[in-house]
Amino acid sequence: MNRISSKQLTLAFIASRLTTEMIMIPGELIRYGSERFVAILIAKLSVLILYLPLLFLTAKFKGDNFLTAAIRKNRIYGIILGVLFGIVLLSVTVNSVLNLQLYITDTLIGELLLISGTALIIAVSLYGAIKGASAITRTAVFGTAIFVFLILMIFVTMADKLDFSYLYPVYIDDSNYLFRAVISEISCNSEMLVFAVLCKNITDKPGRTVYYSLVVIFVVLEVVNLLYNLVFGPYLNELEYPLYVISSLSDVVVFQRLDGIDAIVWLLCGIIKISLLFASAGELYKTSSGKSEKGWFLAIYGAVTLALCMFIGSDRRYYDALQSILHTALPLVFAGTVIPLIVLFTGKKAPRKEKENEEN
């Protein structure tokens, strides 16, 4: 089995969530003012509550994920839940690939074909998934370290451009936006889906991954949001990729602009995120089929993802529809909270003998 430590997975989750912040969250939801600071806080508390069924599930079915517990109860029942979960996982993967592709064409390579961009992203991510969760999380340690280092570097180099008079006491002026921002922030926690599947691979206490990642991500997001507000003020409302613009403003002695290197690191973290989603899909297949080989499944799954990306990416309306569905947070709540909650009450524990055999 591909074993991972909770700390490694925490770092992978941080890389994954930060990528969402830099690349995938719609620009219109990052606005100037105190609302987003509050939205991040409320969203993180809400996500902690949404994680509770998963945390209870990992405590009750030690060493199992929701699918194992459901299949043990009834195979068909388990597969139905797995398919429903898989649909949400697939839609999140397609959305992530398209967002990453859009980001590359917006900032790095303007004339990249949709098919070559998405195919490359999927191929690299699949390679990571085939190598296993352990390989992905080890890469994530490296990616996250550089990511956080670059954010610190940006903060230092932008020190003279920070305008603290842009800040004002917490005052909720637009409650409608606050609500949308909270929902959007919740929807950006697709790591919950990864945790639901890969929790069985964690060697130590799986709950630590949730607690550590939520706290660190909360702090980093608030700091990055503070940076946005201090640099741009009300102009933040007009920007699509604010941190990219900030990084293009930062100069470090020899390097005139940090946007190129930043974009590449974010791209790496985006690949880590998609690899984790693919690895989760592979793990779902392994659990439901009982087979240890997942290479062929991942190849087909990758081809399906590519086909869906081609279809949804062919028309802006399809892409917007997918975005608007995912940004309601309902798919995430369904797959990350409702399904584990159902399994929590209906799942079956492994008999002691079977458990001991697995452990041996």
Partner: protein, 399 residues
Amino acid sequence: MKKISIAFILSLALSVSLSGCVRYVELSDRAIVQALGIDYIPERNIYRISMQYFSQTSEGGQNQIDKTQPNVLKSVGEGDSILTAAKNASILSGKDLLLSENRLIIIGSELCKDDLMKTLQFFISNYHSHPKTYVCGAENTAEELIDIRFKEGYVSSQRLINLIENASSEGNTIADYAYQIMSSLCNSTGSAYLPRLRISEQKTDGTVPKESGEEQKGGGEEQETEKTIVLDGGVVFSDKRKSGIIDSASCIGLQFLSNRMAEYSVTVKDNDNRSTITFFSVRTAITPRFNEKSELYFDISVTADGRFDERGGISETDTARIMAVKNRAEQEVTALMEKAVIDIRENCHSDIFGLEKALRHHYPEFVAQNKENITDILLSAPCVIKVKCNTFSLGLESY
């Protein structure tokens, strides 16, 4: 080891073969834009872009960069929008435009009457544009300024950038990057300020010192005039459009009001003596307050350290005279700031000092409750200006 070798060979093969999958432009086929001017021609309802781009092999030079030459070429394009005008300029030059090195955008006077945010949007939304691009207004057309070539610096536009940066550090103008102007325009009053450039005819090139003993060219005849570019006040925007022009004195007042003044010298005449006090470490605080009648006013206080650069015959122990000179200097700065408030806020209906920012910083609920008429409130609330300079002599005494 075998795996590493395969991975290395594979990555090498991919990097060689995949480069053909992306369209690329050779550096020699790129027009590396150094400065550009945008004009609007109302008679024909079109935009006209003129750009100076880097000439890789300048005339008369053997090296790629010949410092005795302007090293730039010019290309012009017209179109219904700024984007089409830029594309047409690219067609004319026969080169692919590269905006990542552009450091200066000059906006023509006609275009200043249009929505500045829309004008700058093209450059801001183009992620390859250099974010640290200065934006200036032109007295007439931007193109006439782009036409003037300087031989200083490695390219012609370098001289203009130096002019703007130097004027900013000397406290004569505010030099903002495009994103800072956009931030300013996003306030409810849609206010912004651009340094104003104009052509000046000078008899000699003032930037080149004469060699000692050199005879005047033409043996006493009148010297040829030479066109140069000078900074002359600023263009003020309100509701994202040009609302007026301010002179150099108001620009200095504006520097103080917007907490951007680094250093400023005031000369005070006392009988036949002239004393010069230099204000440094200038800090401006704008605090909104409400009087007894609950009416809003802005308390603008400037504090600075001061140093006597010219004593004008005042001895170090003559406290009374030092205080008198200091008070006169403070009054002069106060007068400059009051003039700026009148010129910018009352005549141009613009808030480029950050009154809204200060109000939101202290009373966000007041701003939210008066969202509909916040512009009127900001433009009508009285400003009470206080200047306090702590002078000291040789760093030993402080008053």
